[in-house]
């Protein structure tokens, strides 16, 4: 069986059942039910601690991804990198991510995810996507960023937040 290529550009997502591999932009990943993982973490340690654990995990992962991306694309502008990352979000099933970068990056960066795969008003689900964005933007901007003004609308099936420099 030939590897299945998904996405507009060849090689963006490659699912190779023969090898038991899934790759997005060349990075090997595993498709798991992240909502279930977040819900279970909430049950184990409570919603607040689960959110802190997920924040710690995703923030670090975001910083690592930022360093990798910078090394792979040393000449890319911030806008180009963010465009790549939002595409990565769509391909990996996170949802449709929109990032509004202000001219001055010390001003709030607005992020909205429509149709998010992991959703919730609190707990690990709250930190799952946006803490990663806080980490990746911290790495790219070389500023410690934080997630503020989080909003989840079940009715609109979307989550929104601002990423701002820490005090």
């Amino acid at each position: 069986m030939l590897p299945k290529v998904i996405g507009c550009l060849s090689g963006e997502v490659v699912s190779d059942a023969e090898k038991g591999e899934l790759r997005i932009f060349g990075t090997r990943l595993t498709a798991i039910n992240a909502q279930r993982l977040c819900n279970h973490l909430d049950t184990l340690v409570g919603v607040h601690v689960a959110e802190v654990i997920m924040h710690n995990l995703e923030f670090r992962a975001g910083k690592v991804d930022a360093a990798r991306l910078r090394a792979e694309r040393p000449r890319a502008t911030l806008q180009e990198l963010v465009k790549h990352l939002t595409r990565d979000d769509s391909l990996s099933g996170m949802g449709i991510t929109k990032v509004a970068l202000p001219e001055n990056v010390k001003n709030p960066i607005e992020i909205e995810i429509s149709n998010p795969s992991v959703k919730g008003a609190g707990g690990a689900a709250k930190a799952f996507a946006f803490s990663w964005w806080a980490g990746v933007l911290s790495g790219l901007l070389e500023l410690e960023m934080d997630v503020k003004n989080f909003l989840y609308s079940e009715e609109r099936n979307m989550m929104r937040c601002q990423i701002i420099p820490r005090d």
Partner: protein
């Protein structure tokens, strides 16, 4: 960059009992506000491990235990009795304290008595502010 003010100082904790070896304090978001060995005392573990543990370890342990709060009411503290040291983890307002002591029952009892007072003091301070 962390600006949250620590609710306790290291010297205050070390003064409780000379058997207190190490003190750490983290915010409820996992920011380490304090991570200090008593002067002249050598840690059994690498400093980086202590720091990483201080960020999320005590908070996670307390979080797991607090799942029972629904039935058994609040958790005052968690004591872990290792062969080489005794560790105490507790919430102080919105922050989380972690302390290690020599294996000495009197020293631990002394420390827990101080901790109960300190928790009441921090809690009263929060209610006033």
């Amino acid at each position: 960059m962390v600006t949250e003010k620590a609710v306790v100082r290291a010297d205050e904790v070390f003064a409780v009992n000379e058997k207190v070896r190490w003190v750490a304090l983290a915010s409820n978001r996992g920011d380490v506000l304090l991570n200090q060995m008593r002067a002249g005392v050598k840690s059994y573990s690498p400093p980086q491990v202590d720091r990483e543990f201080a960020a999320l370890g005590p908070l996670t342990i307390l979080g797991v235990c607090e799942r029972y709060s629904e039935y058994l009411k609040d958790v005052d503290y968690v004591v872990v009795w290792f062969h080489l040291a005794v560790c105490v983890y507790a919430r102080l307002g919105t922050q989380v304290l972690a302390v290690s002591l020599e294996v000495d029952r009197e020293a631990v009892a002394d420390f827990l008595e101080w901790l109960e007072k300190k928790r009441r003091q921090v809690s009263a301070g929060r209610q006033e502010s």
